[in-house]
C-alpha cells in the first residue's frame, strides 16, 4: 500500500512564498517558528525568488500566496508579483496591511496582484492593538477601504481564541461594514507562538458552540454578500483534519531563507532535514527529497492509523501536532479519539479552563532570540 512511487505523487498546486519573517506586528498566536530570528539576514534575493516562482509554475503550481512575516516589508514585492503574473499564477497577498499605502496598492494592481487577505486581530481597537502589540486598528480600516477602492476581492481574516470568540458577531459586523467578500474566522491552531501561549488562548467548548451558532445565524441572514469560513479548532474534534490535504500532496511553502517545507510549521519536526532551493531544484525537492517523501503514502503510519479505514481521508492528521503532543511525528494526530494519546489534547483543554497567571509571550525578536538560547 506504499504510494511513494513518484508516478503517484500529484503536482504541487499551491505555493506559499514566505518572503520574510520580519513583521511590524507581534501577535501572540503567530504561526511562524518561535526561533525565526535565527534566519534574519538570510532572505532569498529577488532573482532567487523569481527562479523559485518559475520552477514551481512549471511543476503545476497555480495558486501563489505571498506571506511572511509581513510581505510588504520586501520592497521588491511589486517585481515579484509582476513576474508571477506573467507566469500565470493567481496571486494572493496575505498581509497585516502595514505598509500597504495608496501608491503601493496601485503598483501591485498594475503588476497583476489578484487578491488581498487582510488580517484583523479583533473588531475592537483595544483587543486588536493589544494582541498584536501595535497600534494598527485604524490603519487596517483605512487599508480595507483602499482594497475596495482598487477593486480587489477582499478576504478579511481574524484568528479566534477565548478573548474574541464571545463577540464573534461584532467581528462579522466589521467585515460587513468593510465590504469583505470573504471572512475567514480561523480558530487558533496551536503551533509556533500560539503553542507557547496555548493556555491563555484556548477557548472553552461552550464558547465555540455559541460562536458557531452565531456564525450559522449570520450566514442565513447575509446570504452570498459575504462568505464566512469558520476554520474549526481541531482540539475540540474527534477526528483530525486532513492537514495540508496530505503531506507533499498539494502544498509547498518556501521559508524566507529558501528552505522548502511541506507545511509552514514543518520545522516543528526535529529529525527531518528540509531541502533548500539554493541547493536543489524544486522538482528534486518535491519528488525526490526525503523530507517531502517522509509522510507520503501510508507506509510510515503506526497503529491505529496503519489499518484504519479513514487513513486515506485524513492522512493521519497533522504531523506537527503529533510531534508537539506525543514527541513523535509518526504517531496518529492525538486529536483523533482513536489515538492512545487523545487524553493529552483533553488535558490541554482542561488546563486552559483554570489558567495560571502566565504572561502572554509576544512574537518579537528579543523573545525569539531568548528561545534560541533555550529560554
Amino acid at each position: 500500500m506504499n504510494t511513494t512511487d513518484p508516478a503517484a505523487v500529484p503536482p504541487p498546486l499551491w505555493l506559499l512564498a514566505e518572503l520574510t519573517y520580519r513583521c511590524p506586528l507581534h501577535c501572540v498566536f503567530c504561526s511562524n517558528p518561535v526561533d525565526y530570528a535565527r534566519t534574519h539576514g538570510s532572505e532569498l534575493s529577488t532573482a532567487q525568488w523569481c527562479d523559485v516562482l518559475t520552477q514551481a509554475r512549471a511543476l503545476g503550481a497555480a495558486q501563489l500566496g505571498f506571506s511572511g512575516g509581513e510581505p510588504m516589508l520586501r520592497d521588491d514585492l511589486e517585481a515579484l508579483v509582476a513576474h508571477a503574473h506573467e507566469l500565470g499564477y493567481y496571486i494572493n497577498l496575505i498581509t497585516s496591511g502595514v505598509g500597504l499605502n495608496r501608491e503601493r496598492i496601485g503598483a501591485l494592481k498594475a503588476a497583476g496582484l489578484d487578491h488581498i487577505q487582510l488580517s484583523f486581530q479583533d473588531s475592537t481597537r483595544e483587543l486588536n492593538d493589544f494582541l498584536s502589540s501595535t497600534r494598527t486598528f485604524e490603519l487596517k480600516r483605512r487599508v480595507a477601504d483602499l482594497i475596495k477602492e482598487h477593486g480587489y476581492p477582499m478576504v478579511m481574516n481574524c484568528v479566534l481564541h477565548r478573548y474574541n470568540l464571545p463577540h464573534v458577531d461584532k467581528i462579522i459586523d466589521l467585515a460587513l461594514e468593510l465590504g469583505a467578500d470573504y471572512l475567514e474566522l480561523a480558530n487558533t491552531q496551536y503551533y509556533g507562538w500560539a503553542w507557547l501561549n496555548r493556555a491563555a488562548l484556548m477557548p472553552t467548548a461552550q464558547q465555540l458552540a455559541e460562536a458557531e451558532g452565531v456564525v450559522a445565524r449570520y450566514r442565513e441572514r447575509i446570504g452570498k454578500r459575504c462568505q464566512i469560513l469558520f476554520v474549526v479548532p481541531d482540539y475540540f474534534e474527534q477526528r483530525p483534519k486532513a492537514c495540508m490535504n496530505g503531506w507533499g500532496r498539494v502544498f509547498m511553502a518556501i521559508a524566507p531563507d529558501g528552505t522548502a517545507l511541506p507545511c509552514h510549521s514543518a520545522r516543528t519536526i526535529p529529525d527531518l532535514e528540509f531541502p533548500r532551493v539554493d541547493q536543489h531544484s524544486l522538482r528534486h525537492i518535491w519528488y525526490e527529497s526525503a523530507a517531502f517523501n517522509a509522510f507520503r503514502g501510508d507506509a510510515w503510519m503506526r497503529e491505529p492509523c496503519r489499518n484504519c479505514d479513514e487513513r486515506h481521508r485524513d492522512f493521519g492528521g497533522c504531523r506537527c501536532q503529533a510531534q508537539l503532543l506525543t514527541g513523535d511525528a509518526r504517531q496518529a494526530d492525538p486529536v483523533c479519539s482513536l489515538s492512545p494519546h487523545h487524553g493529552t489534547v483533553e488535558q490541554h483543554i482542561t488546563l486552559a479552563r483554570k489558567p495560571k497567571e502566565q504572561p502572554l509571550v509576544f512574537r518579537n525578536d528579543s523573545n525569539s532570540r531568548l528561545s534560541l538560547r533555550g529560554g
Binding site: G60, A62, Q63, N92, V155, G179, D181, Y182, K224, R225
Partner: protein, 94 residues
C-alpha cells in the same frame, strides 16, 4: 462591489464570470480551472466550454447555439440552463 442581480433565482441573459474568478487552462492538470481567492476548482470539459463563453456579451441562446454548432449536437439548452443555474447558485456568475 459585485452587485447581486435582483432576481437571483434566474440565470442572467448575458452571464458573466464574477470578477474575483479567473478561468484558465492548466497544462499540468490538462484541464480548465477556475481560480479565486485561495481556491481552485477544476472544471470538467463541458462545464469549461460553457464557462468560457460567459463573457457578459453572449446571451444564453448564443452560448447554446455555439456549443451545438461546435460539438455538432442538438437540444443542449436544458443542460446549459441547468449548469448556468448551478454556477449562479455557486456565485460564479453575475
Amino acid at each position: 462591489m459585485n452587485n447581486t442581480p435582483s432576481n437571483a433565482s434566474t440565470t442572467p441573459e448575458q452571464p458573466r464570470l464574477r470578477p474575483m474568478f479567473r478561468l484558465q487552462w492548466e497544462e499540468v492538470q490538462q484541464s480548465w480551472v477556475m481560480l479565486f481567492p485561495e481556491g481552485m476548482i477544476r472544471l470538467n470539459p463541458s462545464a469549461a466550454e460553457i464557462m468560457r463563453r460567459c463573457d457578459g456579451d453572449r446571451t444564453v441562446d448564443q452560448i447554446v447555439g455555439e456549443l451545438e454548432q461546435t460539438f455538432n449536437m442538438t437540444a443542449l439548452a436544458p443542460e446549459v440552463q441547468a449548469f448556468l443555474a448551478h454556477a449562479r447558485e455557486k456565485g460564479w456568475l453575475t
